[in-house]
């Protein structure tokens, strides 16, 4: 269990570093897919099987495909990052990151779970590792105690879908420009519309 966890954790950290260090956005996206898959492995080790699989389906299988689509559609090449300004900005970025890490380290310096000063709220006493019922338990919680947020997220997804279509089509409607398609042919009768 522990060696598996260490392996997945090392893979996660390595691929995350490569995401931000690589110059080619497609390679960054592919490393991010690998990072998500190793995170799914860690979820499986933590008895969150449903979340592990959903992580692969949603993050690695849908979100990253969308990223790759956009990168290929925009035909992005290697990022060119030279110049003193950028080097200065990069240095400040790494320093800020180190500061965040140090803050986290001092907070975690106090052992969690024993006199840590955090107030962990009341927990729902449903053991995620209890038997072969992870999906069943999540479903039970999701549809009873968390029904309202669940319905809200469906409205959120609907809003997101409508928003994406409006944003992605917005510019082409104005000005009466033809949306793609070939110019009208001067040939004989058009083939019948097949609907």
């Amino acid at each position: 269990m522990i060696p598996l966890f260490l392996g997945f954790a090392a893979l996660l950290v390595a691929t995350s570093l490569l995401v931000i260090l690589h110059k080619n956005p497609v390679t960054s996206a592919l490393f991010l897919v690998l990072a998500f898959c190793s995170l799914a492995g860690i979820y499986l080790l933590l008895h969150a099987e449903f979340l592990g699989m959903v992580q692969i389906v949603v993050y690695a299988g849908a979100i990253m495909v969308l990223f790759l689509f956009v990168i290929m559609y925009l035909n992005l090449q290697h990022d060119v990052e030279t110049g003193v300004q950028i080097a200065v900005r990069r240095g400040i970025g790494w320093l800020a990151g180190a500061a965040v890490l140090l803050t986290g380290a001092t907070l975690f310096g106090v052992p969690a779970g024993g006199g840590s000063g955090w107030a962990l709220g009341p927990a729902n006493a449903v053991d995620p590792a209890a038997g072969a019922g992870n999906v069943r338990a999540i479903g039970r919680e999701l549809y009873s105690r968390y029904l309202f947020p669940f319905e809200l997220t469906s409205v959120l997804l609907l809003v997101a879908m409508v928003g994406v279509i409006v944003i992605a089509r917005g510019g082409a409607r104005r000005g009466g420009a033809r949306r793609g398609g070939p110019p009208p042919a001067a040939g004989p009768a058009d083939p019948p519309e097949d609907r």
Binding site: E49, F50, M53, A60, A62, L68, Y73, A132, N134, D194
Partner: protein
Amino acid sequence: MAELWSNPAVQTLTWALVKVLIILHAMLGAVSYLIYAERKICGHIQARTGPNRVGPFGLLQPVADVVKLLFKEEFIPAKANKVVFHIAPILAVFPAIVTFSVIPMGPPPTFVVTDINVGLLLFLAMSSLGVYALTLGGWASNNKYALLGGLRSSAQMISYELAMGLSTIPVLLQAGTMSLVGLVERQAGWYPVGDTGLWLPNWGIFHWFLVLPFVIFLITAFAETNRAPFDLPEAEGELVAGFHTEYSSMKWALFFLGEYMNMLVISAIAITLFLGGWHGPGLFLGTDGWWSPGPPWMGLVWFLAKLAAFMFFFIWVRWTFPRLRYDQLMAFGWKVLLPASIVNVLIAGVWIYLRGPRP
């Protein structure tokens, strides 16, 4: 050595590895002969014999094909991204093989490699990962037609994935478990239909609210594996060869292999969900009449028979129907199949609620 073997974890692991090796080799053999079967069946559908020169009835044709492919020269386009170019064919094969590790091919525990309680989600996860092979293969070739083919193909796959996932939900509602072994076990036995005195096997398709999901699953299976009539992205003659234009020799063979393995896997899942998995009449070997289940190995025989029937169906449809145009394809997926699956979930949910729990 003896004390190592007495650890049950080591035992399970070793048996799992043995089963994995058997499945891997069986799949590779099956796929080579599937290609032969396709050419033979295609030939007979087109009123000619297929390959019949190499070996009796052309049975050694796959061997000749493999040897030829191994000796072909490998081209890598000049400005292609070499690493991704090499990885894409591997990604085509890997999800299909992983899914086979959770499919029950016979009564557990001998005929399943492993049973996880989210087996169906694993299948959906792996089919989501299968999109990458096409996208990356098309992009890495540094070729317009390949890129277009790859993007079209992945757009088609992710559109039909939705309808496929939703069409499996009525099955889950009926069975109450996501584990594939559990799903097959829930399809054992017979159930009486109302008051008519008719007894139907408990398989998926013999429940009326699962017939339409089965049809939708079948149609999306064709779209997911890029098989005709949904194979415009790799259409020979329309887009050169789509996303695998620039691939030669073993890399192309791997894409081809991946396509057939995907066919095998999706058929296996369809059989597990809708057609009763490894259940079948025991014929002369049953203890209680010809319909009672026979010895465990008959489960494997029935599973393979159903798989073969599905493969024949896939090949039959390919050489019978014309190809769908890309916009027709996308419109069909989004405007017809997706609403149909959602309505299905509604109908199945209402019916199961009204019917009450079934033991």
